[in-house]
């Protein structure tokens, strides 16, 4: 499984999203796209040119956008509500809570350019809080695919899932990790590499960095388990507990604050089900300085080398535990 990174070619997961959306849109006329003047950044140009009437652009008005999405679903349509994740989740969080999650509206919320994809634009445009404030909402699966294959699979899954979904996508290029034809299963982690020294657990743009970190560790004779965990809610409790028991240490990394995200979700179960040493890598509870997403991930200790180093420190804690 070490050769799972089959191609170094980097993909913008938005392309996989719109390719599947358009394919499904051709089969199902109930699919509509809703956006906030984000036709370009959500890559909805193709959808718009094929079905202009099915592209509902409310303009720069995110609260209205999410409410309109709920109303379209009430009227029997299948809306994909697309917007920059920072505005979609931050500006309209109460609409997501009341109109979508609590009302259980069959609306797919697509957060584009999540994490620090808009790195240089600054913290107003970073979406490093969205796991925290969406994963506390009942009825709302929270999913962050790691590559274009998983993105395509997750979009396909979301379209047939009867209920609301928050799908968190990035625009930062990532290599494909999962095998072609992969099917997304909500609440299931993917074992990308097995090992017994430590578990490296991530999603989104961090999974491939974890794979590279595992390579570095292997060169030093340390075999790490790598779990891809797109599904932040519900989380794969069995995979988390097995990782704790089998490897005795869990290191998580995410393009999100260390507070309230994937690492927190994992820790909630580790603490109660199988306590072992853990380390959560992410944005350390601050507004990030200027820089690209790649720069900032490195800056916050999430380069493959730094992840490997953190893993070694964590493994040392096992013997003291």
């Amino acid at each position: 499984m070490k050769d799972v990174v089959t191609s170094p070619k980097l993909h913008d997961c938005r392309d996989a999203f719109v390719a599947v959306l358009e394919r499904l849109g051709a089969e199902n006329s109930k699919i509509v796209a809703v956006c906030n003047d984000s036709v370009g950044s959500s890559k909805l140009g193709g959808f718009k040119s094929r079905w202009p009437e099915r592209l509902v652009n409310v303009g720069i008005a995110e609260q209205n956008m999410v409410g309109v999405g709920a109303g379209l679903a009430n009227g029997g349509l299948l809306p994909f509500v697309c917007g920059a994740a920072c505005f979609l989740t931050g500006r309209s969080l109460e609409q997501i809570k009341a109109d979508i999650a609590y009302s259980n509206a069959n609306v797919k919320l697509i957060g584009i350019s999540s994490g620090m994809a808009y790195g240089e634009l600054g913290p107003t445009h970073h979406s490093i809080e969205d796991f925290a404030w969406t994963r506390v909402l009942p009825n709302l699966p929270v999913v962050a695919p790691c590559d274009s294959i998983e993105t395509a699979a997750a979009v396909e899954w979301a379209a047939q899932y009867d209920g609301p979904v928050f799908l968190r996508l990035s625009r930062v290029g990532v290599p494909d990790l999962l095998p072609a034809g992969h099917k997304f299963e909500l609440g299931k982690a993917n074992l990308l590499r097995d090992g017994d020294a430590v578990t490296l657990l991530a999603n989104g743009t961090l999974t491939h960095r974890m794979m590279k970190a595992a390579d570095i560790l292997a060169e030093q004779g340390i075999e790490a388990r790598v779990l891809n965990m797109a599904s932040v809610r519900p989380i794969d409790v069995d995979a988390v507990v097995a990782a704790a028991r089998d490897t005795g240490a869990i290191l998580t990394a995410e393009e999100h604050s260390v507070i309230g995200g994937l690492g927190s979700a994992v820790a909630e179960f580790v603490v109660s089900e199988a306590p072992v040493p853990m380390k959560i890598l992410g944005v350390p509870g601050i507004f990030a300085p200027t820089g690209s997403a790649e720069f900032l991930l490195d800056e916050f200790g999430m380069s493959p080398a730094a992840i490997a180093e953190a893993a070694i420190t964590l493994i040392a804690r096992k013997s003291r535990a």
Binding site: V58, N64, V68, G71, G75, Q95, A105
Partner: protein, 281 residues
């Protein structure tokens, strides 16, 4: 208290019949607030005539098929007057009339704000203000996209219009040409803490809605003779009914005082209110 069961024939419901039903709804609402020790009686009384006209004359609905795709939609954006909606839905046959007595009780599906997944006839969950109109815009837009013939109605409070999300929705309704959407502003001139004019006075509403590209009708929102034709009016733009109402309408000592936003009458006040509402039954 009249507990008589109506044999409904909505098409023939005339203003007099509707007035009588509205009074019965008011009485049941009052009784429930008194017994539960909570509610939003002022805004319930101001809205009940419009709710009655909608559910007993205007809306194409089937209480035994609450999810029929062809049903007209009604969204109660001022969700805090849920009790008035519950009593209306019960009288119209969506939920059992005797269930009203469970209002606010543990595990009742009738909590202080309506839940669409529990209460048949409720379209979307409301409670936080400024949510219903965007959702109603989506409903009306869906009908345009699918060719469905249903009409969408939404009622907001006048204070609620201070929420910016409403104005996002108003702009988009005009942009989308939603002639199948009717917004009713329950203009009772009071919000929770004070009068509208002493808080953030958006009135007069008509010029503002007109400027956004809506048709506007001003009515006495406690007069069936004016409510029914306004609700049935159709044009080629989204339609706003500015319904001038009285907070606490029908109960003399509650009318037009801010105190009765969510105050509960004491035993003596309750007796007076029951007598006043019963007079014309």
């Amino acid at each position: 208290m009249c507990n008589c069961i109506f044999i409904h024939n909505e098409d023939s419901m005339q203003p007099n019949d509707l007035d009588r039903i509205a009074r019965q709804i008011r009485l049941r609402d009052l009784q429930t607030v008194f017994e539960a020790g909570a509610g939003h009686i002022g805004g319930e009384m101001s809205a009940i005539d419009i709710l009655t006209a909608l559910y007993f004359r205007v809306l194409r609905i089937w209480p035994d098929q609450p999810k029929n795709p062809e049903r007209d939609r009604f969204v109660l954006s001022k969700g805090h007057v849920a009790l008035a909606l519950y009593v209306t839905l019960a009288k119209r046959g969506f939920i059992p009339e005797d269930e009203i007595s469970t209002f606010l009780k543990p595990h009742s599906r009738l909590n202080g704000h309506p839940n669409c997944n529990k209460v048949p006839g409720v379209e979307t969950n409301t409670g936080p203000l400024g949510h219903g109109l965007p959702v109603a815009v989506g409903m009306a837009k869906a009908a345009k996209l699918t060719g469905a013939k249903y009409h969408t109605y939404v009622m907001t409070g006048d204070g609620e219009m201070q929420e910016g999300s409403n104005w996002e929705a108003i702009a988009s309704a005009a942009q989308f040409g939603l002639d199948n959407l009717t917004l009713i502003i329950d203009h009772n001139r009071f919000q929770q803490g004070a009068s509208l004019k002493d808080t953030n006075n958006l009135a007069p509403f008509p010029a503002k809605l007109s400027a956004f590209g809506w048709d506007v009708t001003e009515i006495n929102g406690n007069s069936m003779d004016e409510i029914v034709p306004a609700l049935e009016k159709r044009g080629n733009r989204p339609h706003c009914i500015v319904a001038h109402t009285n907070k606490g309408h029908g109960i003399s000592f509650m009318q037009d005082t801010v105190d009765w936003h969510h105050k509960v009458p004491n035993a003596e006040q309750y007796k007076i209110a029951v007598a006043e509402l019963s007079e014309a039954l």
